[in-house]
Each structure stands twice: as C-alpha cells, then as structure tokens.
C-alpha cells in the first residue's frame, strides 16, 4: 500500500475563464492514500469554494475529471499523489484542445457534436429464436465499448490539438474507435466506409499512437480500431478477397443521408417543430 509522506503540498491550479487566467498556488498538508482529485476537493472545501472542476464517480468509470497534471493528460481521480514528485510543485491545468469555461472545466461540446454524426447501429431483422453472437466475435467490439468518454484521446490528438480548423471535418480517435466498433459489430448491416473516409476524416490520422498512450481504459485505439478501419476502407476499393466475401455473404446496405441526419431529417424536424423560442 502506498503512502504519501507527511509534509506540505504545493498545488498550482490554473484558474480563469475564456478571457484568460493563470496558475494559483495552494499550500496544504499531504495526507496518506490520496489521489489528485482528493486534494483538489480539499482546496475546494476550504480555500476556494468556487473552484470549478468536473467530476462524478471518482472511480475511473465516468470520465469526467480529465485534466493535464504536470503536463500529462490524466484522470484526476485515477492519479495517486504517491506517483507524483510531491516535493515539487504539482500543476493542474484544463485540457488544452477544448475551450476553457472556467478553471479546470472545458467546453467539450465538440465531442457531442461529432457523436451526432455517427451513423447508428443498424442490425438485420431479428430471427424468431433471437440474435446469436459468439463471445469471440463480440470481444473485438467490447474493447471499444469500455470507453468512458474522458476525451483524453481527443485532447492529445495533434490533428485537432493544434489545429482548431480540423474539428470541422475530423471525428478524432474516440469516434474512430466508435466507428470501428460499429463496423465490427456482428449484427450490423450498414456500410459506412466511404463516409468514414470522406466525412469522418480517417485519413488525417497518421497513427502516432498518442491517443492509445493516454487511454485510461487501455484501449488499443490505434492498433485495434484505427488501423483495421484504414485497412477496411482501403479494402473496399482494392481487395479482391473482400470483393469475393461480399459476393458470397451479400453486400451490406449502403448508407443514405437519413442514416446520419437524425437532427435534420424529416422525422426529427416534425418531432421538434414549434419548440424552443428564446425569450
């Protein structure tokens, strides 16, 4: 069992908002068996009640408390103080790829906008005796479904970290993994490959594996999701074996605009008619 030696902690927390801000120092006694979020909470409960920080489960399962700790993208709830050099100041700053709202809280709405563009799971008709899938076949997708949507992978992906303009046409590792999961789902029938290449920006990823390195769930985003997805998209055009497979198994259904436009399609428009007049 780990133990932080007793003594004083010097925490440097970024505080500010969209208009700017700076690191603010907080000194407090070290305590045994704490994670970074425990320390942030102690500061909040004493010196800084309005210190903005997102968190929920404090157990590495909800993916809310992402931040950059001493420059490293981490979950605050899963970073033990005993793993940090606590005789030096510890800095905590918000994720850089997303606009700051306040203090450690960022505007991650980009991710929720991308999620709306993912063509939904589309199973074939359900047989009378129910769907059958085998463990070995579901395990590939299960790896990606471990994702807790902490968006640390999105945060470190250089395609968007330093290029705001790419957010308009690039889904980012979290959603490429989601697309890979759908493509590998044993019951799914939709062919999203052209869409993944053209609209989701798969080609922007040049497999530097930064996303995989920061994933708190240990998902092999690059090796198990993105690279197979790239192969699959290429195969669509060039691979004779894949061509033969499609001949035998039948073609998946090609996508139509309706698959990606729940927010602009006719049904959604009808359901949303007449609401939300601002006052």
């Amino acid at each position: 069992m780990s133990a932080v030696s007793t003594g004083e902690l010097l925490m440097k927390l970024w505080r500010g908002d969209a208009s700017g801000g700076d690191f603010v120092e907080y000194r407090l006694p070290a305590q045994e068996g704490e994670v970074v979020l425990d320390v942030v909470h102690r500061i909040q409960a004493t010196e800084a009640p309005d210190l903005a920080v997102r968190w929920n489960c404090k157990a590495g399962k909800c993916g809310s408390c992402s931040a950059e700790i001493n420059g490293q993208p981490r979950l605050m709830c899963m970073t033990r103080m005993s793993t940090l050099p606590i005789d030096e100041p510890i800095t905590i700053s918000p994720m850089r790829t997303f606009p700051v709202i306040r203090d450690l809280v960022t505007d991650v709405s980009y991710n929720y906008e991308v999620a709306k563009l993912i063509p939904s799971f589309t199973p074939g008709p359900r047989p009378a005796e129910g769907y059958r899938m085998f463990q070995v076949d579901v395990e590939r997708g299960q790896e990606f479904r471990k994702c807790i949507e902490c968006f640390l992978c999105q945060n470190v992906c250089h395609v968007i970290r330093d290029h705001e303009e790419n957010k308009a046409h690039y889904a980012g590792p979290r959603f490429l993994a989601r697309l890979a999961e759908l493509e590998m789902h044993p019951l799914d029938t939709l062919d999203r490959r052209a869409y993944i290449a053209e609209r989701m920006g798969l080609g922007y990823c040049n497999i530097t594996k930064c996303c995989t390195e920061v994933c708190p769930e240990g998902i092999h985003i690059t090796d198990n999701a993105i690279i197979p997805l790239k192969e699959r998209v290429v195969d669509q055009r060039y691979d004779p074996v894949a061509w033969l497979g499609r001949k035998i198994r039948g073609r998946p259904r090609p996508m139509t605009p309706a698959d990606v436009e729940p927010y602009t399609g006719a049904a959604a428009k009808a359901a949303r008619a007449g609401q939300a007049e601002a006052s």
């Binding site: 068996g33 033990r80 799914d188 949303r272």
Partner: protein, 614 residues
C-alpha cells in the same frame, strides 16, 4: 414586475435525469411522437448508472431454462422482505427480459453463452443465474447503448443543467420547471404537459457512500415540494462491501461478483464468519459448512450456495456485528479475500475492472492481498410513490422512474434488479407521460411571478453575506446521517438526528455562495443541500416511525420484523414547510401471486420441498 432573463423552451414531455431510467423514458416518449427534452445535471453519459457492475437481472432462462418471471418475482419479493409494491415487482419480472433483448437490438454487446445467447451470472438473492452482463461494466454498457440510441433518434439533450423547482397550475398539475445551466449560470424555464423525474439516488447525505456528487436526492425533493408522496424513505441500502481503505478508494464498491466467483469474508481472526449468520429464513438454501459452500462453485446442482452470497442486507448486518464485537480490520471493516482462493489469472479474467481499479486507484493488488471493506451507503429503496403501471405520482402530470421512485424494491433491493428496474419503469413512465401529453389540453402558460420567485431564491445565496461555507454544512449533515441514521438505528439517536436536522435546515438557508454564477460548485452545493436535507428529514422521520427491522432498515431497539408493519407504507409528505410521516395501508397482493412466495418473513413456516435445489 421586473423582467428576469432566462432561456425558454416548450415541450410535450420533459425528462429530468439522464441515467438509464431517464434515457429510456425519453426514448419512449420520442418514439410515441412527443416533443421530448432530456435534462441532466452532468455531461451526457456520465450518470451514476455507469457505476453498476454486476449485471441486469432478467429471467431469460438462457443458463437455467427453469427460470421464469414467477421465480424472479418471488426472489424480488423475498429479497424486499415483502414490503415491495407487488404489482411493480410483477411487471418488473415479466418485462425485464424484453428490455434486455431490446438493448441487444440497439447494439449492446453482452457476454455470450457457448451457443451464442446472452450469458447470465449468479448473484446474491437470485435463485438462478439471471444477470445479463458485460464483464463487470454492465452499467456503462446500458448507458452507452441508450445514450447512442437517444442521439440516433435526435433527442434534445440539455447538459449540466440543474432543475431548482417544478411549477404547477391552479388545478395542481405540473406544467413546467425552472433551472439553470451549471456551466454558464444562466436560467432556463421549461414548460411541458408531462414531467418525468429520473434523478436517481440520495447517497450524498451520508459520509461513506458509493454515490457521485450528483446523488443529492433532487428528484425526491422536487416531487415532495410539489406535493407528491414518498414511501419507505427509511429503507436505505448499505452495500456490504465498499472499500474503506485507502482514502482514494473509499466508497468504491466491490462487486458481489467477487463473492460469486469465490471471494470470502474474514474477520481479524481469519475466520469465515458468515456461517455464523445464516438466518432461519435462508437456512434451507444456504450451505452449512465451508466444505459444502466451496463445492457449490464447481457443482451448483448438488450443493447449496455459501452464505457469502446471502442478500446484501444480511451480509451488511453480519459485518457490522463482527466490527462491533471487536473482530474488525484496522480501519473498521472486515477483509474480503479472493487472493488466497483463486489464481491471479482467474481473478484478472473474471474481474478485470476490479483488478484495474484497485491497482490504479489504491495500489492494491487484489490477486495478492485481501481487500479491506465495510458497509457503504449505496442505494435508496424508498422514493416517490407512483402508480405501478404508469409511474404517475400523486401530482397530475408528474411521473417518476428508477431509483427516485419507491415501491419496486421493498425494504431491500437485490443486486441486478436496479438496471432492469431503470429500463422497465423508465419505458413505462415515458409511455404514460407521452400518452398524457397527447391526450391533455392543459395550458402550459407559466406564471412569471412563480418563475421570478424561484430565480430570486436560487440567487439569494450570493447575497447571504458572512454566512457559513456550504461545504462545512454538508460535512456536518453527512456526519449526522452516518452516525445517527446509518446502518444500525435506535430511537434516541434518531430523535437526536431529527433535532440536528431542524438546526441544519435553518443554517442551510443562510450559507454563502462566493464568486460568480459561472460554474460555481459552492453555489451548486448550497442548492443541492436543500434536496439533501429534504431526503435526510424524510429518512429520519420514517426510520423513527418504522419500529421494526426489515431489509435495509435495522433498528437496534426493534430487532425483529413486525408482521403488522409488513402491511404498511411509511408515507412522507411536505406541507407548509414541514416534513411529516404517516403509516398507511399498503396495496394487498392477490392470492395467486401470494402462492408464489412460499414463505413470508416473520413466520416460522418450514420451507417447501426443494424440488429444484441449486
């Protein structure tokens, strides 16, 4: 009247809370053709449902063909110590399989049987292996599947939005709600013909809890303040195996799956003490010796299950007794040991997230050392009283589903029954809310005066100069509830708690919020405290009133169950600024269902022949 700035939305159905129940309700409402809004206090997909590990109970019969809804119903009623609303328990048992299969059709990837069907696992209190699961992250699978479904359907989601009050018209129907965006601090007003509360639990009123910051009982409070009834608020479940050490892992629950897969409970003397705590009620289906219990893991047909797999209230009480008897672990709990009983490879394969969490959070290797655990506030069985079929509350147009609703679980919830509860009753609430909205011609014009009153109240904490820090008051509330209204209760302590809560209630009105309205957790806590105090008051008053021990409610001064109190609901209400609790007759179960129960608690009848002993 001075004008107040706020954003305005109009919907047919407003769903408050986006965990499993809220999402399922919103999906149903939208599919019924209603304009539907889904509001959540956190980001979308972070709800406490993600924490559920073990699985979702449903009598699919994939592993044990003998299983059916009748057996599931019986297990649920017996687990709930017969205090359940029988109709809810029946609907739940009957409809849970369809809800699981529906998730599969929406893309959920459950673990599979060798012949490709959904695999089901054993869990405490369930007669058959019944829990559909995905490793030990079933809650996350449920959240993602319903979240992705909701997004695919184009539901309007309002994130990081706290609802402060519900609004009613002169006829007493709810027609709207006032809240604010937590990130920007600006106010929002919704009008709607139906409102579904799906706000989850209340754990944040206690010191040791598995619940996230969100679980402040907002829905309980909103409904009570609007005039709805709550029942069985005294029935709070303390999970027997929450981590108590180290600090970073405190409150983290150790899934019952650890015990299902061979983990055992030991006291400081190394004794497997659960064999000393087998109540007559469970004697016939529980192993009597360590040898018999150990054989069950390999041969579930010919041997009975070990007592570590008794319902969780039985296990929690046993742990408490061991600690009180001075045989506890160094930090006041007991040891849960799987390390000495299973190989590291087996543990890592069967319990991957458990292994991962402990290693990373606390640097504890559960394949090498025992875990130090103790009872932790986990779940409230009680909640808003609803009609079993429609989930409508006593207030017209107001519905409740999931943990915020009461009745389904009686005095104690079986593991695995909450995820299926969310989907079964989330769907029913969404359906009934949509039907009401479609049939109703109610005018949803909101009173500007009411809106202004709510906004003025919410912002009043900034004007409380020199008041207390809301965090300090919160700590005091948690200490009070943990020490006086915890797992073991007694009259004098409950009275003390009641008096303390009255004092805290007055002080809570005067706490100060410093800083601005933009993402200000201190201000949020000042408002959340109102909800937490509502829950604490109802729980304490109900606990005083229920003079017996039943399920999650244990009275030291009334250690036995009282057959007369099995027939009553403890009903909490809020009238003219005061909380009160009254016992009222509970709906009576029809004889054909009663026949399924076999043995009711408090009676010494012998168990029936074990024609299918597992």
């Amino acid at each position: 009247m001075a004008s107040v700035d706020y954003e305005r939305h109009d919907y047919d159905v407003l769903v408050i809370g986006a965990g499993g129940a809220g999402m399922r309700a919103a999906i149903e409402s939208l599919e019924q053709g209603c304009r539907t809004a889904l509001v959540c206090k956190s980001l979308f997909g972070k709800a406490h449902t993600v924490m559920a590990e073990g699985g979702m109970a449903a009598a699919l019969g994939n592993v044990w063909p003998e299983d059916n809804w009748q057996v599931h119903f019986r297990d649920t009623m017996r687990g709930g110590k017969m205090l359940n609303n029988w109709r809810m328990a029946q609907l739940h048992a009957q409809e849970a399989p369809d809800r699981v299969l529906e998730l599969e059709a929406w893309g959920a990837l459950f673990d599979r049987t060798p012949d490709g069907r959904i695999l089901q696992r054993d869990f405490g209190g369930h007669r058959y292996a019944r829990l559909a699961h995905v490793g030990d992250r079933t809650g996350l699978e449920l959240i993602r599947t319903t979240q992705q479904r909701a997004v695919g359907l184009g539901i309007d989601v309002y994130m990081e939005l706290k609802i402060v009050r519900l609004l009613k018209n002169d006829s007493g129907e709810v027609i709207g709600a006032v809240g604010f965006y937590r990130d920007k601090g600006n106010f929002v007003v919704f009008s709607a013909k139906s409102i579904v509360l799906a706000t989850g639990g209340v754990g944040k009123s206690w010191k040791f809890t598995s619940n996230s910051w969100e679980s402040t009982g907002d829905g309980h409070a909103l409904a009570l303040w609007a005039g709805a009834d709550a029942i069985e608020m005294e029935c709070v479940q303390f999970h027997p195996t929450g981590m108590i050490w180290p600090t970073s892992a405190r409150g983290l629950l150790v899934t019952e799956g650890v015990r299902g897969d061979g983990g055992v409970l030991k006291n400081s003397e190394g004794e497997r003490f659960m064999f000393n705590y087998i109540s007559p009620y469970f004697k016939d289906e529980t192993a009597e010796t360590i040898e018999e219990g150990d054989k069950w893991y390999e041969d579930k047909v010919n041997y009975r299950r070990p007592p570590e797999l008794l319902p969780r209230d039985e296990v929690a009480r046993a742990i408490n007794s061991e600690v009180k008897a001075g045989r506890g672990s160094p930090h006041g709990g007991v040891f849960l040991d799987i390390a000495s009983r299973r190989s590291p490879e087996y543990i890592k394969r069967r319990l991957p997230s458990m292994y991962h969490q402990f290693k990373q959070l606390a640097d504890v290797d559960i394949t090498a050392v025992p875990m130090e655990i103790g009872p932790t506030c986990h779940y409230i069985m009680g909640g808003i009283r609803v009609d079993a079929d429609t989930e409508e509350t006593a207030v017209a147009g107001l519905f409740a589903a999931g943990e915020v609703a009461g009745g389904m679980h009686g005095a104690n919830r079986l593991g695995g029954n909450s995820l299926s509860d969310l989907l079964v009753f989330g769907r029913r609430a969404g359906l009934a809310a949509a039907e009401r909205a479609k049939a109703s011609s109610v005018e949803t014009t909101l009173s500007e005066a009411q809106i202004k009153e709510v906004i003025d109240h919410a912002t009043s904490f900034f004007a409380n100069e020199g008041g207390e820090n809301p965090y300090d008051l919160h700590h005091e509330l948690q200490e009070t509830m943990q020490n006086l209204v915890g797992i073991i209760r007694t009259e004098s302590e409950l009275i003390e708690a009641k008096e303390k809560l009255a004092e805290l209630g007055e002080r809570a009105k005067k706490v100060t919020a410093t800083g601005g309205r933009e993402f200000n957790p201190g201000w949020h806590l000042a408002l959340d405290l109102e909800s937490m105090l509502a829950v604490a008051n109802c729980t304490t008053l109900s606990a005083i009133e229920r003079k017996e021990s039943r399920g999650g409610h244990t009275r030291d001064d009334y250690p036995k169950a009282d057959p007369e109190l099995e027939k009553v609901n403890m009903v909490s209400r809020y009238r003219e600024g005061n909380y009160s609790v009254t016992p009222e007759p509970k709906p009576e179960m029809p004889p054909e269902l009663m026949a399924l129960i076999e043995l009711s608690e408090g009676e010494g009848k012998s168990a029936p022949a074990k024609e299918e002993s597992k």
